[in-house]
Symmetry: C2
Subunit: 331 residues, 2 copies
Amino acid sequence: MNRQCRLTARPTGVAQAEHFEIVDGPVVDPADGEIVVRNHYLSVEPAMRGWIADAGNYAAPVALGSVMRSLAAGEVIASRHPDYAVGDRVTGWFGWQQVATVSADAVVRRVTETDLPLSASLGILGINGVTALLALTRVGEPVAGETVVVSTAAGSVGSAVGQIAGILGCRAVGIAGGPDKVRDCLETFGFGAALDYRQGPIDAALRTACPDGVDVYFDNVSGPISDAVHRQLATGARVVVCGTAAIADWSDWPNGPRVERHLLVRRARMQGFVIFDHMGAYEGAVARLADWIREGRLVYREDILDGIEACPDALAGLYRGENRGKRLIAL
Amino acid sequence: MNRQCRLTARPTGVAQAEHFEIVDGPVVDPADGEIVVRNHYLSVEPAMRGWIADAGNYAAPVALGSVMRSLAAGEVIASRHPDYAVGDRVTGWFGWQQVATVSADAVVRRVTETDLPLSASLGILGINGVTALLALTRVGEPVAGETVVVSTAAGSVGSAVGQIAGILGCRAVGIAGGPDKVRDCLETFGFGAALDYRQGPIDAALRTACPDGVDVYFDNVSGPISDAVHRQLATGARVVVCGTAAIADWSDWPNGPRVERHLLVRRARMQGFVIFDHMGAYEGAVARLADWIREGRLVYREDILDGIEACPDALAGLYRGENRGKRLIAL
């Protein structure tokens, strides 16, 4: 039996529990070139909002009635592809289901860090950590001594960005929501300063935390938090646009303060980053991150829900801000 | 006698005639290291709005009661600096006045293109042409075969951008205000297409003119015109933020559609360009532009007003859109 979580209705905004259903499907026998993966961990990520939205995006929307698109980590339990054998640990586009019968193309990578937990392959050693490293270095281009500001700083991407900025010799300033996450930033992830946006406008605190301005802004949110950071950009600043979690819905396109003047006066840059453009650098990034974990220089936090029944509300909960660390579902 | 145009009041928005006065000052004898320049042409440029504004900017505001800051082109009529001799033609920060006694530091460059008109040294062979070339190539990074959209396309910067884009093998699409400027774009400056924003929203016409999207947007305006272009960015697009002429006043900061989602979905980039960061490349750029002019591949239009008395209203007229081509004042 193969219990699945399927998308049944298309929300405006963030999908809630009622937009999904749990159903029992069959385990499909693999055709030639296919493998069968027993999923151990399913990923839950902010970008799913975009995958679900029926609007222009960087991937086709998830079809109604189909298994929710998701990265997952698991073990090959049957293979009709010469590159994969039973027992191989893999991550890939296996969806929110217990067992996936997929073309080998669905595999993102074979998990070779067998000394590290498999769950890490979906977070710090997966799309989150790799995004943090590649977006920060390739778009943010931080230079030792600079100030790097990060939004959703206690999250799976943000916490990695802050730590990597530190490893690269920069001073990291985090922005997070609530005292627990601020404490995580300071005590767990080593940010030099951390601001709580739930305490009100952050302009003054940001000015104090970044007396020479913001050299790199790693933006996971957009919205008023980012507007405040834009006002503090240093000359030559780089803004990495990695996510827009603060904007619940782009179908009714929101307004905000125009950025052109900031970019012109500060000779600054804003640039979008999507990991799928950088897959050639993926393995090298994972290896670098894994070494930092082994050296104790990079830590991560996970928020693991239990069982496929946790799927329908998992994304909505992410947008309610209830998780601390990378949200996963253990099967 | 040295007739001058001085700034006497600080406007909100664009300075009008009443914010200046014409006065007769003395011709000051040069001190050691100084030169005296007889100005033949004074420059009028959109950026003057920013130089006048008493707000955060990339240069200190022009002091009330002082000669209006301006580039000018003229001839050395007295010199107490070893590098300059009477008769040398120079451009520099000589201000809106007939005769400038200045430190040699005020000279931007010696005009060596003696086969070309001196007035060109303030436009196509000055800050406008050099900005067009360096901002387009260094920030826009156009690749042959791409589509380059330019706002204020009939203006001194925009018309050069369109022609240079063509020389580099790109297809240039201009946006300009009114049928005369659209005709200039098509007939004089060789744009592949030109849109008149005064005819109403440009979205549909832009989609038709750029069926594969906009690879490079050279933005001189900000505002609704730019918002429409942002909606048509191609994957990997580059937006050169070179000016914000459509925004009359940034002291009451305007809102507009948020750009983050465009940048993320299209993996696009917006970056500000200010010529003062690129002075090391200035001479090489002038030489390249001059060659294109001599080869007949680069043409330019000038809008020359007569006499220092034309100064006070010259900037306001620029913002009224009354000029065609680079606005200068001949003395």
